[in-house]
């Protein structure tokens, strides 16, 4: 049997040592009327046939290796240097558990420490944890941290409607049945003035996205100041790639920075596994969720690293823990660490700026087409919204026949943006691909 090494002789010897005659004898505690069910499942297969089947399934999808992908909205097709996956494929990293034994886990522990350091540099914050599940759950954890920071005395949370809808939906799920008033879409205008006005002395946390779900770059300094005045925590949801060129959220007075780390060297992989970034100020370190790795020394005087401040965590504090998180995104945090290292100071900025310039080129070309209109009116990063002359789904069908994955139809997310398409451009997209996108959009707009 695959992956099970026992010979018949082994089994006999082992059963004899245990003092039973058959493996079935080991299951006597299990009620016999439900023991050994007949399972309605396929018969066993083998590596060769499974690979063939899986290749067929995979190749029935459209993907960004055979199509030009202009879809973003929270997952982006940035270039991933070869080194990243070579490191991830090291057995010593991917087949290790959580580093509970520091003497034989310094590889994992030091890379987590480096990850924490890189995220602090990128966001400008004091402290970052070892990762949460994704950007959406990181935002939900920020909300929980803010509520607990205010000891349940503040129940209002203001979320900009321009935060990714999946992130906001996740916060709603986490807060189900809690005595919390969430102000977002439906109660709040997407305008920054309205968001600022909604922040008052009952607000536990106000959160915005940077760049927002429409790609817009806004200056949140005034909002940060307002949050500070009324004692609300100020949370900025970031795209870490954008921070390769943009001011870090610390300059707006952010108390918490969360974000989806996928752009940092992680394949889109149909939505996961990704990486939840969570960084904050020193003063909240004991209230933050998730694992932390800290520096120390060993008995031989060597610098080493251990998991620290574990009394915040579920395995010690149980129901008093700051979160129930246990397994996090360790290997994906390693991917981001290797990515930020090999891209480095110059490379990350270059990838961000290339994405920026290419998006602006694409937007300017599309805006020239009859019937199309650029919706964004201020600065934006690598994503923008265009008003289209025909239903977005129809345009996307045409694009697909030209090997292009078009932008997101914003109608289902924002009813007021019916007929609007959200397009993302990364450094992987070439000018030829943009020109082809523009030609197909032009042709399909007057079909």
């Amino acid at each position: 049997m695959s992956y099970i090494p026992h010979t018949e002789q082994d089994r006999r010897a082992m059963l004899a040592e245990i003092g039973v005659t058959r493996i079935e004898d080991l299951y006597e505690a299990i009620p016999d009327h439900v023991r050994f069910p007949e399972l309605d499942l396929p018969e066993a297969s083998n590596e060769m046939d499974i690979v063939r089947d899986m290749e067929a399934l995979a190749s029935s999808n459209a993907d960004s290796r055979s199509y030009a992908c202009f879809l973003g909205a929270g997952a982006y097709d940035h270039y991933i240097p070869s080194v990243v996956d070579h490191i991830l494929r090291r057995s010593e990293f991917y087949t290790a558990y959580t580093p509970y034994q520091p003497e034989i886990s310094q590889g994992t522990l030091q890379t987590v420490f480096e990850y924490q350091s890189l995220i602090c540099q990128l966001t400008g914050m004091d402290v970052a944890n070892a990762s949460l599940y994704d950007g959406a759950t990181a935002l939900a954890e920020a909300v929980s941290m803010a509520l607990s920071h205010h000891h349940g005395k503040r129940q209002k949370v203001v979320l900009s409607p321009a935060i990714h809808p999946h992130f906001r939906e996740t916060v709603h799920t986490y807060m189900r049945g809690e005595d919390v008033t969430l102000m977002d879409e439906g109660t709040l205008d997407v305008d920054l003035t309205a968001i600022t006005a909604a922040v008052d002395d009952q607000t536990a946390l106000v959160a915005v996205q940077y760049p927002d779900v429409f790609g817009r770059i806004m200056d949140f300094e005034a909002l940060g100041k307002r949050a500070r005045e009324v004692g609300a925590l100020f949370c900025v949801v970031v795209n870490p790639m954008a921070l390769g060129m943009l001011r870090p959220p610390s300059t707006f007075g952010a108390d918490v920075v969360v974000g989806e780390g996928q752009p940092l060297g992680v394949p889109m992989s149909f939505g996961g596994p990704y990486l939840g970034i969570f960084a904050t100020r020193d003063e909240y370190v004991r209230k933050m969720p998730g694992r932390l790795v800290g520096e120390t020394t060993d008995t031989r005087g060597q610098r080493g690293f251990v998991m620290t401040l574990t009394p915040r965590e579920q395995h010690i504090r149980r129901e008093k823990a700051t979160s129930n998180i246990c397994t996090n995104q360790g290997l994906i945090a390693l991917a981001a660490t290797v990515y930020m290292t090999v891209m480095g100071k110059q490379g990350l900025r270059q990838a961000a700026e290339m994405s920026f310039h290419k998006a602006h080129y694409a937007a300017s070309q599309i805006a020239k087409l009859p019937g199309f209109e650029l919706w964004n009116d201020g600065p934006y990063f690598n994503e923008f919204v265009v008003k289209a002359p025909r239903p977005v789904a129809e345009l996307n069908l045409n694009l697909l026949s030209h090997k292009i994955i078009g932008g997101l139809d914003l109608g289902p997310w924002y009813p007021s943006l019916q007929g609007h398409m959200l397009l993302a451009v990364t450094e992987r997209i070439t000018r030829d691909q943009i020109d082809q996108l523009v030609r197909v959009l032009e042709a399909s707009s007057h079909e």
């Binding site: 297969s45 993907d63 097709d77 420490f113 970052a128 996961g272 996090n328 480095g344 600065p379």
Partner: protein
């Protein structure tokens, strides 16, 4: 042996990756919104590679040795899983693509849902939760929504046995419910009388790990379930220990209403040094409508054509994360399950249980097992002896490293003194178990004859014991190579 930090091998101007020249005109950058400095490392590709490879060599891993970490199911992670997950159609498809362009992905998710439903005995399945604890949160929110939907708002308590994983009470608190702890009886089962005394109309559910964290199958599981159902509450199954039950018994058949699977334990997806996991949640017919959105459904047209689509259950609790869950882990888990097939899944449990009982027998009378019963996939012994009073489980664990083994889980479950929790898994050969048993017996001897060799262990590892007190006191959580960029608001 220690490796410099990446910042310590950085030199201004050095770089690894070159990107192509910009092939479009430059647009105006948003002045006033740009950062002054980006303090990331500057290293060559070879420097980066050596750095991370050297670090990897400081790790212990399944591929380098036996990893009998109780409760973690550190089984072999098949290599083919890694290849399949990286196929371009899987790895480079975008989660928001039109459904027609990702039918392969949706078919795969549907097939995995069906496998897990059949293995667990459930009517509905979500693959969205990111890990076990996330699955717990999903499950408890479903239970809460179920009661609320019936207008039953007085149910505010979750009963949790004292042997439970720490995530259970933490999840309960996160869900806004109260924890009521239930003691264990002398045979390691839930104390049935204590449980019955707590069962009333204020109870929302029981969180039951079965086999429990002692590695024991709950002997009165049907009475436990009946007591909980009898008061109108539901049973949450913590599926962390499903490796013992594959093809042996289906939690749904035992009356469990909701259960999370850990794809990263039971179904061989790698632990990755702490994650990512994947925590599919199965539910009964009565709870299907509350599953997080979306789930994958199959639509068969009149002409027999099959299509897969994402649907939102009518009373959904909402989404628990962005997109569809850890798809890359689903690919690995399904690849693994297909290798074993209908009859093979039980072979996994059979050999996991065989290995655990064999190892327990080998440790025999040397290590005291507080609940001396046939165990399931793992077992717990005490790491202490009255005649070696200085020795603790911790010392035994550290000494095991000198013999080339990863230590078992220690000090858990909390109800056993100096607990050592050992889970060998089915992928280990008898020879490996024998070598581990020999080391354990040798250490027991050393504990009595040369306790110092345990107290100062490990000796042969790249690092000695690390000072956790210093780490918590000095709290150095990131390195700050340069002055901080652009100061925050004055």
């Amino acid at each position: 042996m220690s490796e410099p930090l990446i910042y310590e091998i950085s030199s201004p101007g050095r770089r690894a990756i070159e990107l192509p020249k910009l092939d479009v005109p430059e647009a105006d950058l948003p002045q006033g919104m740009l950062r002054d400095d980006l303090p990331l490392p500057e290293v060559s590709e070879l420097q980066a590679v050596r750095h991370f490879i050297r670090l990897s060599q400081l790790n212990y891993s399944i591929d380098t040795g036996f990893y009998p970490l109780g409760s973690c199911t550190m089984k072999y992670n098949p290599k083919v899983n890694e290849d399949v997950a990286r196929l371009a159609g899987f790895a480079f498809s975008h989660p928001l693509q039109p459904e027609a362009t990702v039918q392969g992905n949706l078919a795969l998710m549907y097939e995995l849902q069906e496998w897990l439903k059949e293995i667990g005995g459930f009517a509905g399945m979500t693959l969205q939760p990111a890990a076990g604890a996330h699955g717990e949160l999903t499950g408890i929110l479903i239970i809460k929504a179920y009661h609320r939907d019936r207008g039953d708002t007085a149910r505010v308590k979750i009963l949790i046995p004292d042997s439970a994983h720490g995530t259970n009470p933490a999840t309960t608190a996160m869900s806004g419910l109260q924890v009521v702890q239930i003691p264990s009886d002398a045979r390691g089962n839930v104390d049935l009388e204590a449980l019955k005394a707590e069962c009333d109309e204020t109870v929302a559910g029981l969180m039951l790990t079965n086999p429990n964290t002692l590695g024991l199958f709950e002997e009165h599981v049907e009475e436990v379930v009946a007591a909980v159902h009898g008061c109108g509450a539901l049973v949450y199954g913590d599926g962390a220990n499903m490796n013992a039950l594959l093809g042996v018994v289906r939690p749904g058949d035992l009356g469990v209403d909701v259960l999370h699977f850990n794809l990263h334990k039971t179904f061989s997806t790698p632990h990755g040094g702490g994650g990512p996991g994947s925590g599919a949640v199965g539910v009964t017919e009565a709870l299907k409508d509350f599953l997080p959105a979306p789930v994958v459904d199959q639509v068969i047209a009149d002409d027999g054509a099959v299509r897969y689509t994402l649907v939102t259950p009518p009373k959904t609790i909402g989404r628990v994360k962005a997109f569809h869950g850890h798809f890359g882990m689903m690919v690995r888990a399904l690849t693994y399950l297909r290798i074993y097939g209908r009859l093979g899944v039980r072979m996994i449990a059979d050999h996991a249980v065989l290995n655990a009982n064999y190892l327990k027998a080998r440790l025999g009378s040397t290590y005291h097992a507080p609940f001396d019963r046939i165990c399931m996939h793992e077992f717990v012994v005490e790491g202490r002896w009255d005649d070696a009073p200085d020795i603790r489980a911790f010392d035994i664990a550290k000494r095991l490293m000198d013999y080339g083994f990863h230590p078992p889980t220690y000090y858990f479950p909390l109800i056993v003194h100096e607990a050592l929790m050992i889970e060998p898994t089915e992928t280990e050969a008898k020879e490996t178990l024998d070598a581990f048993a020999e080391a354990m017996l040798k250490i027991a001897q050393e504990a009595h004859t040369e306790p110092e060799s345990l107290k100062s262990a490990p000796h042969s590892t790249p690092f000695g014991r690390l000072d956790e007190v210093q780490a918590a006191k000095e709290l150095v959580l990131c390195c700050r190579p340069e002055p901080r960029p652009q100061t925050s608001l004055a």
